[in-house]
Amino acid sequence: MAINLKPVDVAVIGLGAAGGVAVLPLARAGLKVAGLEAGTWMDPHSFKPDELHNNVRGLLTSVPKANREVPTVRNGPSGQTRRGNIHPMMNAIGGTSIHYWAQSWRLKAWDFKTRSEAVKRYGPNSIPKGSTLEDWPLTYDDLEPYYDLIEHEVGVSGKAGNIQGKIDPLGNVYEAPRQREYPMPPLRGSGFTDHMAEVAKQLGWKPYRPPAAINSQEYQGRPGCAYHGYCSRGGCHISAKNSTAVTTIPAALKTKNLTIFDHAHITRIVAGGDGRVTGVTYLKDGKEYFQPAKVVLLASYTYENSRLLLLSQSKAYPKGLANNHGQVGRHYFGHWQGGVAALFPFDINIWYGTPAQAAAVDEWADDNYDHSGLGFIGGTTLQPHTEMHPIEAASMSSFGQAPGWGSRWKAFVRENAARWVSAYMQTSTFPYEDIYLDLDPEVRDPLGDPVCRVTTAAKENESRASDFAQKKMEEWFRAAGAIQVIRGGGGAPGVSTHAYGGTRMGDNPDTNVVDRWGFAHEAPNLGILGASVMGTSGARNPTETAQALAWRTADHLAKSWKSIAG
């Protein structure tokens, strides 16, 4: 029998990038919040410049829960099921905002209204075949105040390109209008990224330094970035990366309205016969607990959000919680991320820095150029960046110049390991009928529950968009002096660090799990946070949008407490 705990107003499942943000407006509104987190606090001093630990073995986590629940992947329903060794997410208070790249973007207005905008500009046939794309139930303008809150409460460095319609060529001139400047200037450039920016200008493009939730200078009592080069899958040893563990969660704790229950391994969300959720069960130190709550906010990662709903079956929800319309797991997609690698005839010194220290170009992103006759909608951000590690560097392609081992390989790597780079490229990705999440019928986690299964497929729209952008990236690299360029990557994404959907947000309950405020159509006191509610990806990292949506959902909950909590 589960041990019953004292009821709370709101139980938040997962204190990562999204849940870790939502607790702050809730606690400030005076609601009693239980923050349930599978992991625990991590000491910034345990964060090491150690490629083997962080990047190769994927061990930066406070508990190995996610790594025991890595989803399986198959290409289409008849494809071979495969499984990676390392989950892209970690478990800790602060979650993966501890080891993410901290690229912190707003989506474009177009991303919220892609279907209607594409039909208007290119006709109904421009919508990719088989896509379940819908307009979001909210606009960029609806989310703008929450983007602004996140940028200032969490702390984002950047340069505005459009303040209330006034264009500043030092920032991203293609961005949607914002109400004010970022709270911190952008991260500095490196020799390499400055060189790439200079060349982009010569091509007639408008490069900018992309925004990041990393302090470029002291902010809220924490120092500016040390650019030491172990940011990717590494925690920040000086807390200059603005994970929720050092920003919104400590701020929420100060209100005394947030209580954190760590090492709480959530097993089910419980619903009553009336369809309302009543709380959650979790395991801690081998004992089972039940945490009653008036409202539950589900804020684990995209895969676990869908999995936990599908596992939480009850009389009211025989196919899984909030899944009587069969939409849980649907409209899922992983971000298309192609790559272009380039070899230079000189050392480019990208060892240090951080991936957000980059020269970014938006000319070929979103709907910033005319797609007539191209056969695809959407676009790609081009982003050569810093941070390279030694094992990664030596694992380079031989660019067709050397064998894979022996003296000739050694001579090649000796000369070139310090001379190659791979650009980061993110392509607008859309949901499709035949790409979805469900429970794996065979593979189970250590508790005996099925893991999440990804059914994926290659798509012509995204493939063409990615190819188009890779040619642009090649042009940029060659203009910058690259002597060899390899275009590649892309293809149907598997388990992704940018996983969207599964609990999509929309007004129509036949095609969406949550309403425009993030609450389940079927279970009105269950809110869902994270990129799992997003119906399009944009051509940029999801976290700031997931955080703005989380804040908005929490804000709505506090303002509508009586009607939602019942």
């Binding site: 910034p44 020799g191 694992s395």
Partner: protein, 210 residues
């Protein structure tokens, strides 16, 4: 995927101060640390003498010592693999040893002796056949080749704390300038010589300057 016992002591407060003039004092107070548990070292080798010889012969052909400097053996990659299979990668120890046995079995059937006994040209022929998947009777040769190659790279280029990259020979080979706790704009320039910082970020001296 249990990580207890593999947690290495981290960059020390002292090294943070020594290396990071730009870091405000406020950041350092939160960075005070205890030394942490020492990393678990393999108490004894996972390899028999013969297995070690086979492995060293293999990685010596993968990355040979030559006029450009030390190879995988001189970098200590075999030590790294030994320690990893005795600890973090214990789950794959059996399959790895089976792979080494298969290498020798193939070497014997194709060239009449175990890998370590063959001439360098014969050894290269063994590796080539494995790499191309044309090693008769050795079904998973490509996977074994790829895994040994991968672990050899890890052993050459990871922090020396893990038993490889001895005397920073791997990092010297590719001009990796070393982990620093803070990096200046000058240290991120291009076409400028950066003085390598040759300290482990982990382990007994915690990255201290000795």
């Amino acid at each position: 995927m249990h990580q207890d016992g593999k947690e290495a002591p981290s960059v020390s407060r002292r090294s943070l101060i020594a290396g990071a003039a730009l870091v405000p004092v406020a950041a350092l107070s939160s960075a005070a640390q205890s030394a942490g548990p020492p990393a678990t070292k393999a108490a004894k080798s996972v390899f028999s003498e013969a297995e070690r010889k086979t492995l060293e012969a293999f990685i010596d052909r993968l990355v040979p010592k030559d006029e450009l400097g030390p190879g995988a053996v001189e970098c200590g990659a075999a030590n790294y693999i030994d320690q990893a299979l005795g600890g973090a990668l214990a789950d794959e120890k059996e399959s790895f040893l089976q792979g080494l046995a298969s290498v020798d079995a193939f070497a014997r059937s194709a060239h009449g002796a175990s890998l370590a006994e063959l001439t360098p040209d014969q050894q290269d022929a063994v590796l080539t056949a494995m790499d191309r998947g044309s090693a008769t009777g050795f079904a998973n040769a490509r996977a074994v080749f790829a895994r040994i190659r991968r672990l050899t790279l890890e052993g050459m280029f990871s922090d020396p704390y893990y038993g490889g990259n001895q005397n920073f020979r791997g990092w010297d080979l590719i001009r990796y300038p070393g982990p620093r706790v803070a990096v200046s704009p000058e240290e991120q320039k291009i076409k400028v010589e950066i003085k390598p910082y040759r300290r482990s970020a982990l382990g007994a001296n915690h990255g201290h300057q000795s």
